[in-house]
């Protein structure tokens, strides 16, 4: 067996960084998970992008567990026939039907027990559609949302489209923006909140002002829009120099979360643009201030009905590393200091995981997941970045992690049984060189570039970690040779599933990281596995198909000669019937 994952945990031997930042302010924090008031677990369905709206990626099903996982075998396989750029999707499963989006904005409805195709929808872009000449040029789609009788998807030409759940026939479509002007498009899965569908966009590495928009999920009619960069007269506008707010990025390019009890929507926002140079967007004399370039690289909480800002927490003020904070916001209720608190855990691209009180944004603690870290030397008492190692115009500055991120957009998972967060962590560095670039609406605005580097002295460049979000302790860590670019799924069977670029689909013991089962699926993994049941059978489903553009392409360049195979397949596993 050629799995590098079997070699076990390798201690950190890279000299540049301390292993962890443990700057938690929790007093007397317990490690045991507490009973949750949140409905974070999924049951027979997988209803949303992160599973539940708390984004745990945790299935409460336990038919497949540590004792029998080694008996998993394929139940069905579905070839999508769409090889745009791998299969990066999270399938949605409701009442025994799987809704799967593919890179070219196709949707399949499949019988979730057999894989039989029920209907197929192919989105047609505008006849005159031109791919935006900006970061929005990916050919990907990360998933649909389902509300009532509608399956809703964002599109490459920046529309939101709803098709009928039973027929696949188009019902409504609304252009959220013109991708030819904004350089933006939609790859992320929408979030359903009450009777609304909320969507962000890609494009924040271009000269663009990010926003979230809410529509009536039944009719497609506009409800509200929240710009992630405040306009003239709004609080936070003065954190931008001159007209830079128009081009400052902050695109919320992944999917948010929702707490029904607090009625708050949580979303992570993208990096500030131009990516690697802040001189054009920083007000004079405020370079060292907190709260610069709001609300980029932040977690924002919005009132669901109005889209008004409830609170924000900026994780990377005046970002100059392309450290998007657009990733998943994981909501949980945990005991801290002897009392139950409503918290959230949120990792940004730098690998810092911020833990906040989700009622008001109060900072509770932070920990850092990559073993190689040079971009900062430490973190202050209130989460402020210390010892920033910043790019310089015309000079090459080695920074770890690189803009690939200490984690890519593939998602973490959280198990209430173990109380642990499971993270697919990456270890890549980059030589960044900044430039002073003029902003031009909708055009790439990176203000520099970078050359990825493998950190020296390592034999593996990724690790699957289990972290206690309350103590900031890494409970276990398993190395992986190249990169972990697929999301994590965890289940009540105390299992953790993910896939690797070499095509292995893997199951680990959630309590200690022991590898319990693996299956060679034939192509690299970049999507998100889910679990659901039909009748009395639990299924574990994973998209298979490597993304070979952008981040995936960077890895292919770093590991020249490796063949991370493309593909576009849904593979579904279950136990033999005698179980």
């Amino acid at each position: 067996m050629m799995l590098n994952l079997q070699t076990g945990f390798r201690p950190n031997r890279y000299c540049l960084t301390p292993a962890l930042l443990l700057l938690l302010v929790f007093a007397g924090a317990g490690t045991a998970a507490q009973p949750e008031s949140l409905q974070g677990a999924t049951g027979k369905d997988w209803p949303g992008y992160g599973g539940s709206s708390a984004a745990w990626r945790y299935s409460g099903l336990d038919q497949v567990n540590r004792d029998n996982v080694n008996q998993l075998r394929p139940a069905w396989i579905f070839q999508t026939d769409d090889y745009g750029d791998g299969l990066t999707s999270t399938p949605i499963v409701i009442d025994g039907v799987m809704y799967l989006s593919t890179p070219s904005n196709w949707i399949y409805a499949l019988d979730a027990a057999t894989g039989e195709m029920l209907w197929h929808y192919e989105y047609k872009t505008r006849p005159d559609f031109v791919k935006p000449g900006s970061s929005g040029a990916f050919i990907q789609n990360r998933g649909v949302a389902v509300h009532g009788d509608k399956v809703i998807m964002g599109t490459v030409d920046h529309a939101l489209v709803a098709v009928n759940k039973d027929t696949g026939l188009e019902e409504w479509k609304v252009y959220v923006d013109d991708s030819r002007q904004c350089g933006c498009n939609i790859l992320s899965a929408p979030l359903i909140v009450k009777d609304m569908v909320i969507i962000g966009q890609n494009g924040g590495d271009g000269a663009f002002r990010g926003y979230l928009t809410a529509f009536d999920a039944d009719t497609g009619r506009f409800r509200w829009r929240f710009y992630t960069i405040p306009g003239p007269g709004e609080p936070g506008h003065d954190s931008w120099k001159g007209d830079s707010w128009k081009y400052g990025g902050g695109a919320p390019w992944m999917t948010g979360s929702y707490d029904p009890e607090l009625d708050l929507v949580y979303w992570g926002t993208g990096n500030a643009a131009g990516d690697f140079y802040s001189g054009d967007r920083t007000p004079e004399g405020r370079e060292d201030d907190e709260g610069i370039n709001l609300y980029t690289a932040s977690v924002i909480a919005l009132h669901a009905d109005t889209g008004e800002l409830a609170w924000h927490f900026q994780e990377v003020p005046r970002d100059v590393w392309d450290f998007d904070s657009a990733y998943e916001v994981i909501l949980m209720d945990r005991e801290i200091g002897g009392r139950q608190r409503k918290i959230l855990a949120h990792m940004n691209k730098s690998g810092l995981v911020f833990v906040l009180d989700r009622t008001n944004g109060e900072y509770l603690g932070v920990f850092s997941v990559p073993e190689v870290r040079t971009w900062i030397s430490g973190i202050g008492e209130n989460g402020e970045l210390l010892g920033r190692r910043e790019p310089v115009i015309g000079e090459s500055v080695l920074v770890c992690p690189t803009a690939i991120g200490a984690k890519s957009f593939n998602q973490m998972a959280y198990s209430p049984r173990t109380g642990l967060l499971y993270s697919p962590t990456l270890e890549f560095c980059g030589d960044i060189m900044a430039t002073d670039q003029e902003a031009q609406e909708g055009i790439f605005y990176s203000s520099g570039g970078f050359v990825n580097q493998l950190p020296e002295g390592r034999e593996s460049y990724a690790h699957l970690d289990a972290w206690d979000p309350v103590t900031g302790e890494r409970v276990w860590s398993i190395p992986s040779q190249y990169a972990l670019m697929a999301s994590i799924l965890t289940t009540a069977g105390d299992l953790v599933f993910t896939g690797d670029p070499e095509g292995w689909f893997l199951a680990f013991d959630a309590t200690n990281g022991d590898l319990l089962w693996s299956y060679q699926t034939g192509a690299g993994h970049r999507g998100s596995a889910v679990s659901y049941s039909v009748g009395s059978t639990q299924y574990i489903a994973t998209p298979v198909g490597w993304q070979d553009s952008i981040t995936g392409g960077m890895l292919e360049a770093l590991f020249a000669g490796e063949n991370f195979r493309k593909g576009s397949v849904m593979m579904v596993f279950s136990l033999p019937e005698e179980n």
């Binding site: 000449g133 409504w172 609304v174 002007q181 497609g220 506009f222 050359v451 960077m554 360049a557």
Partner: protein, 273 residues
């Protein structure tokens, strides 16, 4: 170590470092083509951001471009129009003609072609390729201010003209192409839009622009809110269409002052001439 020794050692280090760089860039450095400098600059900012191609045509998030034996026609076609079913975008809309020519010239140089025949003023027409977006060419005076208002994503946001009108290759063509330009701001506000009907779908009434009716159902824009929603009403669903509508153009252009609308009219007149 003496200062001389230090200097000597530094020189050796620099020389060693410089050898591969010099080899890599010899062809560019020896050329007397003024487009190359600008081309390299445009390439660095637009293509070699590392998310896509790498510096000097190296592979990064997208494939290597240097030493691929690309011919000029291929370079021009791909640069202008992109590659279907891949992330490679077309840049005919995104760059000025001069910058497009410059970056194509630079990529040609990475493939050993130092003087490709791309014309600065008309880089694409001679190759039969889509023309550069006219929006990149500034208009005179008020017309340019009107153009910026028409496409204003910042102050007007979703309530800008181009949410419903496509001009110069930008905007959502909800409305038919603008042909008869109103003679005044007042006329613009009072614009009679006979194509808008009141439609009743399953007891819900809405102003709508009907695009088609046929066996596959009725395709219409619901104009209740901005942006308009393109709806497909399947056959068999109750649908009534009334001739008249209370919908008014003035309600949808409230984000603009009269003065701004006047500038928008200047823009429309200028580009229609």
């Amino acid at each position: 170590m003496s200062n001389i020794m230090k200097t000597l050692m530094l020189c050796i280090v620099y020389l060693i470092l410089a050898i591969p760089m010099a080899t890599q860039h010899t062809f560019a450095a020896n050329l007397d083509n003024p487009l190359l400098d600008r081309g390299e600059e445009v390439y660095r900012m637009t293509c070699a951001t590392s998310y896509c191609h790498g510096v000097g045509g190296e592979a990064a998030g997208a494939p290597r471009l240097a030493a691929r034996d690309f011919d000029p026609l291929y370079i021009a076609e791909i640069t202008a129009n992109g590659v279907p079913d891949t992330p490679m975008a077309g840049f005919a809309n995104a760059l000025s003609g001069e910058d497009l020519t410059a970056v194509m010239t630079y990529v040609a140089s990475l493939n050993g072609i130092y003087n490709p025949e791309f014309s600065v003023n008309d880089p694409l027409a001679s190759l039969g390729i889509a023309q550069v977006n006219p929006r990149r060419i500034p208009l005179a005076g008020n017309s340019q201010a009107g153009r910026e208002l028409f496409f204003d994503a910042y102050d007007k946001g979703i309530k800008r003209c181009s949410t419903c009108h496509e001009m110069e290759g930008i905007g959502i063509p909800v409305a038919a192409p603008i042909q008869d330009i109103p003679g005044s701001v007042r006329a613009l506000k009072n614009l009679a839009t006979a194509e808008v009907h009141t439609v009743v779908i399953s007891d819900e009434s809405m102003p709508a622009l009907i695009l088609s009716q046929g066996v596959a159902g009725t395709l219409l824009y619901d104009l209740t809110s901005v942006p308009p929603v393109l709806r497909t009403i399947q056959p068999g669903i109750d649908l009534e269409i009334e001739d008249m509508s209370n919908w008014q153009h003035r309600d949808f252009i409230q984000a603009y002052s009269d003065q701004e609308l006047s500038l928008v009219l200047d823009f429309l007149n200028a580009i229609t001439e």
